[in-house]
């Protein structure tokens, strides 16, 4: 490292040592760890808030006939559940990990653009407020509540929806701005802030997963933002983008939405597939298997995810040739995903494994996401999809893929890095209870939904025929148990963060852990790697 010019050093005032005091530490934050923690706190809070609508949905579906919600309220509740979980829970949590971990993993003093970083975060609460504000406005007699079209916001339903739709579209615009800014910052950080010697193919796999995720966000989110502007224009300014009366086409919105929406699945997924091999390697006490194969798979998944979107639209009346193309390309994307699975198995193969909570969640991820992936192959068959598409089979598949994948991965990562972030171990007993109860109750919720779907129960409908009653009751009871189980996690989290009951964590935290972040004390000091580390 070159010598530091003392004259310039003086410009860096002593604010480098200690965090600022008071609330402005968070409101005005420029520190990547503080901003990362804010993302995590916001995302975990929204995970619980977004879980409430899910419990409402299952309450309504506990028994046939409408007991809990009106059909209108049901539609709003499923919409908010989807939007909150995707945009306000999973994405902020994975972005939080990116902010916290990437500078530590690449030996950078901070993110490249710290103020931009904070701007990206504070757009999220603004968007979340706009999303649910219509419920408040309804209380004072304005409008009909929030958006009620489902999270896909399909036209022409969206064009007929109440004012809640405008709030949702504006919220998505802010979310898009937030994601774009966060992605720019992450890409610049990874490209420019690496410590000397940290070459591209030495980057930890998690960092690579974020290279692809951020590129995807920049490549697709602006398209959805353009679409939202067109929706507002169609609703209020007399344009006909999505209306056949003026020569437009509602299917165009489906194309725009899924051009964004399918990569979005990988945007949710990739950061956790990036963190998984770190966890597997740690608890198998073996080096990661297939580093380059994983990196190339990320890139392949990223590229392919942009060209497979219309498999979400097999029942929209696309020409047969188009359906066949999207069927084959969708099936092809399972190849790089299978490579990832192979590398995960290779990493734990003949390892001396121990089963601490992060490892349990990581293994649960492989099983549940595996089921999600395989049932996805079933749906990717354009001919078979006609049967499954609008049934609970798809709902079950989706949740195996996105709860089984990102949410299990997020739990694994939270347990894995919590001791590093707080300096305290969480309760291992509670963590294992949390895992096993989550694994069991999750399957109780969603396994019956595969059967319900095959039997023909339509999705999105608040009521159902009597023959579906027993399995729905099982699913709903499972959902209440799954929800209650998450309170264990909340308690364990609060106990670790706010009390000193957990034993102190060492710098390395886990016996088998490796990586620059584990060379730092737990918790790491406010500023780290002000002098870049030496990478051999």
């Amino acid at each position: 490292m070159s010598a530091v010019n003392p004259a310039i050093e003086q410009l860096h005032e002593p604010h480098h040592e200690a965090p600022p005091r008071g609330i402005t530490r968070w409101l005005y934050a420029t520190n990547h760890k503080d901003i990362g923690v804010m993302y995590l706190v916001f995302g975990v809070s929204m995970f619980f808030l977004g879980g409430l609508p899910a419990e409402l949905i299952r309450s309504e579906l506990l028994t046939p006939t409408m007991r809990v919600l009106s059909p209108e309220a049901y539609n709003q509740v499923i919409t908010i559940h989807g939007l909150v979980m995707v945009f306000a829970a999973v994405m902020p949590i994975t972005t939080g990990f990116a902010n916290y971990l990437i500078p530590l993993m690449i030996g950078a003093p901070d993110m490249a653009l710290p103020r931009l970083n904070n701007w990206g975060f504070w757009l999220l609460p603004a968007a979340a407020i706009l999303l649910v504000l219509p419920w408040g406005l309804k209380l004072i007699g304005i409008g009909t509540g929030t958006l009620d079209t489902g999270w896909t916001m399909y036209a022409p339903l969206s064009l007929q929806a109440g004012p809640g739709a405008d709030f949702a579209f504006v919220a998505v615009l802010l979310l898009g701005l937030s994601s774009t800014m966060a992605s720019i910052n992450i890409l610049v950080t990874i490209a420019q802030q690496r410590a000397a010697g940290m070459s591209w193919l030495k980057l930890p796999v998690f960092v690579w997963s974020w290279v692809v995720t951020a590129l995807l966000l920049i490549a697709v989110f602006p398209a959805l933002m353009a679409g939202c502007i067109m929706q507002i224009a169609d609703r209020h300014f007399g344009t006909h983008f999505f209306s056949a009366a003026g020569g437009g086409d509602p299917v165009l919105w489906e194309h725009i939405f899924w051009f964004f929406g399918h990569p979005e699945v990988y945007i949710l997924l990739l950061p956790t597939t990036g963190i998984l091999p770190h966890i597997l390697a740690t608890f198998a006490r073996k080096p990661m298997y297939g580093y380059k194969a994983q990196v190339y798979s990320f890139v392949a998944i990223g590229v392919m995810s942009i060209i497979v979107w219309a498999h979400h639209m097999f029942t929209s009346g696309l020409p047969t040739g188009v359906e066949i193309y999207f069927m084959l390309s969708t099936m092809a994307i399972s190849i790089p995903v299978a490579v990832l699975f192979f590398c995960w198995f290779g990493t734990i193969w003949r390892g001396s494994m121990t089963f601490e909570t992060p490892m349990l969640f990581a293994l649960g991820y492989i099983v549940l996401f595996g089921i999600g992936g395989l049932t996805g192959l079933v749906l990717s068959d354009a001919a078979a999809d006609q049967q499954y598409h609008n049934t609970y089979f798809l709902v079950a598949h989706f949740h195996y893929a996105l709860f089984g994948g990102p949410i299990m991965g997020i739990f694994a990562a939270l347990y894995y890095y919590l001791p590093k972030m707080t300096g305290r171990m969480y309760s291992e007993t509670l963590g294992r209870w949390h895992f096993w109860l989550t694994l069991i109750t999750f399957n109780v919720v969603f396994m019956p939904q595969f059967l319900l779907g095959i039997a023909g129960m339509p999705r999105r409908i608040p009521d159902y025929a009597l023959q579906f009653a027993p399995l729905n009751m099982v699913s709903s009871i499972g959902a209440f148990a799954l929800g209650a189980t998450q309170l264990l996690f909340l308690y364990n989290l609060a106990r670790t963060v706010f009390t000193t009951s957990g034993e102190a964590a060492s710098a390395r935290v886990w016996e088998g852990s490796s990586g620059l972040e584990f060379t730092l004390p737990s918790p790491p000091p406010f500023h780290t790697f002000v002098t870049p580390p030496v990478i051999e």
């Binding site: 860096h12 405008d166 802010l174 610049v188 802030q193 940290m198 679409g227 009366a245 003026g246 165009l252």
Partner: protein
């Protein structure tokens, strides 16, 4: 592989700053105001106005703070690279935004309209049931229920505007050459010319829109043609306006004697943006006005 060179001083991490959260609050007010206003609630207008004022204020303060830090010598080569790449990725996201709008144009023109008209084809078994038996696939098109309209002649104002914007790309490059060679008069003259060309362009656009509404019957309501025409030209015009404001700020800074031949990233960022807006216009001229 050696993109990261050794920094000559610790990377500059700004102090805690109120601007990001205030900027978010301004955008929240704008979003809230827009959502209320389009639904006829007048309170939305107040939120919009307040949001716009706050936005202008916080952007002014934030950019001023960055300029101050730059002039205090806090930014080295690594910081400058971060700004450069940040701006390039931002422009990339803008490219995607406009590419999506062009995608919408191609989809409406080449897929949606022919699909809609295919119901009426002689061999179509749907033909007897078509709700729009006289609708044919042609472009420009305002749909089965659309009113008649005329399109803007590409060889009138649009061709002139193309000339104006292309010249402005040349003048901003000329200004840059002046800056790098230390010829400050050339810098200022080039910037002034660029801004004048940009503003003239905007004036012509306003005139074109007025004519479209008053004489051609081409409005937002003119089906897919009107919708795609105005969203593409409108967002381009918005970008030219933003670019012109940024050029004005750069001109003011040049007048104050800022920028050195070696160190003038703000100038470059704005000129990249201006060239980007230029290229978008070329695509607009070809695909919206001409073909």
């Amino acid at each position: 592989m050696n993109a990261v060179t050794e920094p000559h001083h610790p990377y500059y991490i700004p102090r805690p700053s109120p601007y990001p959260i205030v900027l978010s609050a301004a955008l929240f007010l704008l979003g809230l105001g827009a959502a209320l206003r389009v639904n006829g609630l007048l309170a939305g207008g107040w939120a919009l106005g307040l949001g716009a004022l706050l936005l202008a204020y916080v952007l002014f303060r934030w950019f001023n703070a960055v300029i101050g830090e730059s002039r205090a010598g806090l930014y080295g080569a690594q910081e400058e690279r971060a700004f450069r790449w940040g701006m390039l990725w931002f422009i990339t996201s803008e490219v995607v935004f406009f590419a999506s709008l062009f995608g919408v144009l191609f989809y409406e023109r080449n897929i949606a309209v022919p699909w809609l008209a295919s119901f009426n084809a002689a061999h179509s078994s749907w033909a007897p049931f078509s709700p729009w038996p006289h609708f044919t696939a042609h472009w420009p098109n305002s749909g089965p229920a659309g009113a008649r309209f005329q399109v803007v002649d590409p060889w009138g104002i649009p061709a002139l505007n193309t000339l104006l914007l292309l010249s402005s790309g040349v003048t901003v490059t000329w200004a840059h050459a002046g800056l790098r060679a230390g010829r400050r008069t050339q810098l200022k003259a080039g910037l002034l010319l660029t801004i004048a060309l940009g503003l003239t362009f905007l004036g012509f656009q306003v005139r074109e829109f007025t004519e479209a509404y008053r004489q051609l019957g081409l409005t937002l309501h003119s089906g897919v043609y009107g919708a795609t025409f105005f969203i593409l030209t409108g967002f381009h015009g918005l970008h030219v306006s933003i670019g012109a404001i940024m050029l004005l700020a750069i001109l003011a800074r040049a007048w104050r004697g800022e920028f050195t031949p070696e160190h003038h990233f703000a100038f470059e960022a704005v000129s990249w943006y201006w060239h980007f807006v230029d290229v978008v216009w070329l695509a607009l001229f070809v695909f919206v006005y001409w073909l």
